[in-house]
């Protein structure tokens, strides 16, 4: 359901995107500052929405894909703000705010009107733990993909021998982008691993078996292995830089495809069919 909170959040994210894009386009002034502020404001609006609906539902409001996307947008906005402020990664602002805007927009368009009915099987303390871990992992993978895109763009400029233009003066170094990509992947991997474990424990408690090979479970395992391979290649062979960035984006497209594909095509437990 599109609440006033969501509309306010969408407006904040849209303005934030505009601000970051203008800053990227070389419009002078303190655009990035207020664009960052608006991103935070959008996240705050969403926080309000989640609290209101969470109180109404009696648990965190994630019972279908629209709600999951909304939650993902919120986590991405929060993590993105931290990245922009704490790690001075303004260059990623346009990516973060636009992807959050799109995600929340899609979530809003897909959402059904009415009260959230929380199925009996979801009334568990495991729901917030499992879902938050899984979606936080996804949010970090979203950001890792964004950092990798920025990496490839800047790497291309360095190869094209045009990075000394005054407009590019404040671009972050490749080394920093690479390191942040690695950290985001690492933490995302930890979250994903814990999400799988908590999901299995929860499934055992509810249905009596850890693993039922439903699509989400299988795909999670696939993604887990892909991200493990990605991290492994860095730790053992030392693949980094361009190759790591390209692979991060490749794995991320698998993630997006599986996330959307599963929820649109085959409704399992994660698609809202709680047997």
């Amino acid at each position: 359901m599109i609440t006033d909170w969501i509309i306010a959040a969408l407006i904040c994210y849209a303005l934030s995107t505009a601000g970051f894009v203008m800053e990227r386009a070389g419009v002078r002034g303190r655009r990035a500052d207020w664009a960052t502020g608006l991103l935070g404001a959008g996240a705050a609006m969403q926080t309000g929405d989640l609290i209101m609906r969470g109180l109404q539902a009696g648990n965190i409001p994630v019972t279908n894909i629209a709600q999951s996307l909304e939650f993902l947008a919120w986590l991405t906005a929060l993590a993105g703000s931290v990245l922009i402020v704490r790690w001075r990664m303004r260059v990623i602002g346009a990516f973060v705010s636009s992807i959050v805007l799109i995600t929340l927009g899609v979530a809003g368009a897909m959402s059904r009107r009415g009260r959230i009915v929380m199925p009996q099987s979801l009334r568990s303390a495991w729901l917030p733990v499992h879902v938050t871990l899984a979606l936080a992992g996804y949010a970090l993978f979203v950001l890792a993909a964004g950092v990798s895109i920025v990496y490839l763009v800047y790497e291309k400029r360095l190869k094209a021998k045009r990075p000394l233009r005054p407009a590019d003066e404040r671009m972050p170094s490749l080394e920093k982008l690479d390191r942040i990509n690695y950290r985001l992947l690492g933490w995302g991997f930890v979250m994903l691993s814990l999400a799988i474990v908590t999901g299995a424990i929860w499934a055992d408690a509810t249905w009596g078996h850890f693993w039922s090979w439903e699509p989400q479970e299988s795909w999670s395992l696939v993604l887990w292995m892909l991200y493990a391979a990605l991290l492994e290649s860095r730790l053992t062979v030392g693949w980094r830089g361009r190759r790591a960035a390209a692979l991060t984006i490749a794995v991320f497209t698998v993630l997006v495809g599986s996330f959307l594909g599963m929820r649109l095509a085959t409704p399992g437990k994660h698609g809202g069919n709680f047997g």
Partner: protein
């Protein structure tokens, strides 16, 4: 009378270094020189001395800019023992508006050899501090310098004048900053001890590289430079293993064929675990095979790439300089207005006191019947006269300040107003029968 800013001096455009170095002052000499300058004659009331590699300038204030300028010029010749003919043609003298503009342009680094370079502002600040300390800076200079600093700040903020690299070595260093986040854990390898390579190594060293390896055909040269820069010399026919360690490699060797090619790096890249490598080729003919640039996480820039970057940022700075000049022009206008206002101050004071005296005189004349009034009524009459006087003064003074008198010279207009209102006239006016402030009016 008019206090005017003047500037007399030479810079990199008007005088060759042979002249500039003879006129230059060391930092320790300046205080004494300022005292001598002030003592040389009465034409100069405030003065500062700016002496850098690229300019020697006497910046001052005097009643007559021409006389002050002549005194400064004579001083420079006598004090430095240089015949006036030797630097005469190179000398420029600015006064009034031109001097203010010159000062602001110097501070904003618009008059620098490399437009937008940042050192000049610091040098100007030192010159000002020395003048203030020597007690040779007065009201006008304080304001002029502070304004010059503010203009420089504004220009830097509003334009891209200080952006980009303006030398090959600084371009190389700035590129290193695009590839590496920090240099503190990096190793630099110098192949050949050319001058530009040395300069680049020095710049990198200043940013705190971890270690510096130097190799050269003549091993002694490598050792000498290694000792000077705090590095390690490596024999030339055995520098191969260093490639594994080196994150930055600078080539500046005279060689007919490339000393490094893709085949040298094939295994090294894997051994380095794909950590990026920055190759800086300063040699002509080129030291590094251009195909290296195509390798993964290897970035090769040759002297032409760096020069092109330098050209581009110089061009960019020149374009930005236009915007900066507009800012300077606006600020010059503002400063001159303030300076004109300063000239009006004595006249304005007189005008104010004349009118106040008139009011006091009138109140005193009517003291007898005013005393008979209720205190509240007396208050109101006081307020009425005060209001009238203030309104009148405001019109006159703001008109003078904003140059609405129609006279070409604001000071002249103020002088006329002052004389018309002066106390002698006011006293004479006391006896006039047609005095509008007559008893009947109340």
């Amino acid at each position: 009378m008019h206090e005017t800013l003047f500037i007399v001096g030479v810079n990199h455009r008007t005088a060759p270094v042979a002249v500039r170095e003879r006129l230059a002052y060391a930092e320790g000499e300046i205080a004494a020189a300022l005292a001598r300058l002030k003592a040389a004659g009465p034409a100069i009331s405030e003065v500062a001395l700016l002496s850098t590699c690229n300019r020697v300038e006497i910046i001052g204030v005097g009643q007559s800019a021409a006389a002050a300028g002549a005194q400064a010029r004579g001083f420079l010749a006598a004090d430095r023992g240089v015949a006036a003919e030797a630097f005469g043609p190179a000398l420029y003298a600015h006064e009034g508006r031109a001097a203010v503009r010159h000062l602001f342009r110097v501070g904003a680094s618009l008059d620098s050899m490399v437009v937008g370079e940042p050192q000049i502002l610091g040098q100007l600040k030192v010159a000002y501090a020395q003048s203030a300390e020597a007690g040779t800076a007065g009201l006008v200079m304080h304001r002029a310098f502070h304004k010059a600093f503010a203009v420089a700040k504004r220009v830097r903020k509003a334009t891209l004048i200080g952006h980009g690299s303006v030398s090959v070595s600084s371009a190389a260093v700035s590129l290193a900053g695009k590839i590496f986040d920090t240099l503190t854990d990096k190793t630099v390898l110098l192949i050949g001890a050319g001058q530009m390579a040395e300069l680049t190594a020095r710049n990198l060293k200043r940013l705190g590289i971890e270690s510096l390896l130097i190799t050269s055909r003549t091993f002694d040269n490598a050792v000498a430079l290694a000792r000077e820069l705090g590095g390690t010399a490596v024999p030339f026919d055995n520098f191969g293993p260093c490639l594994k360690l080196a994150d930055v490699v600078i080539g500046s060797i005279a060689a007919t064929r490339a000393v490094l090619g893709p085949e040298d790096y094939e295994g090294v890249i894997r051994e380095r675990r794909y950590r990026p490598v920055f190759l800086i080729d300063l040699g002509v003919p080129r030291n590094f095979d251009a195909r290296l640039h195509a390798m993964e996480n290897v970035y090769l820039y040759d002297i032409d790439d760096l020069s092109a970057a330098v050209q581009e940022s110089r061009g960019e700075r020149e374009r930005e300089a236009g915007k900066a000049e507009e800012i300077v022009e606006l600020e010059v206008e503002g400063f001159l207005k303030w300076l004109d206002g300063l000239d009006l101050v004595p006249a304005i004071k007189d005008i104010r006191s004349s009118v106040e005296q008139l009011r006091d005189g009138e109140l005193a004349r009517h003291r007898a019947w005013l005393a008979a009034l209720e205190p509240a009524e007396r208050e109101r009459i006081e307020a009425l006269t005060r209001g009238l006087v203030n309104k009148l003064l405001h019109r006159i003074l703001s008109g003078l300040r904003e140059g609405r008198s129609g006279a070409a010279d604001g000071v002249h207009a103020a002088e006329i107003a002052r004389r018309l209102l002066s106390s002698e006239l006011a006293v004479a006016g006391d006896g006039f029968d047609d005095d509008p402030d007559d008893d009947e009016e109340f």
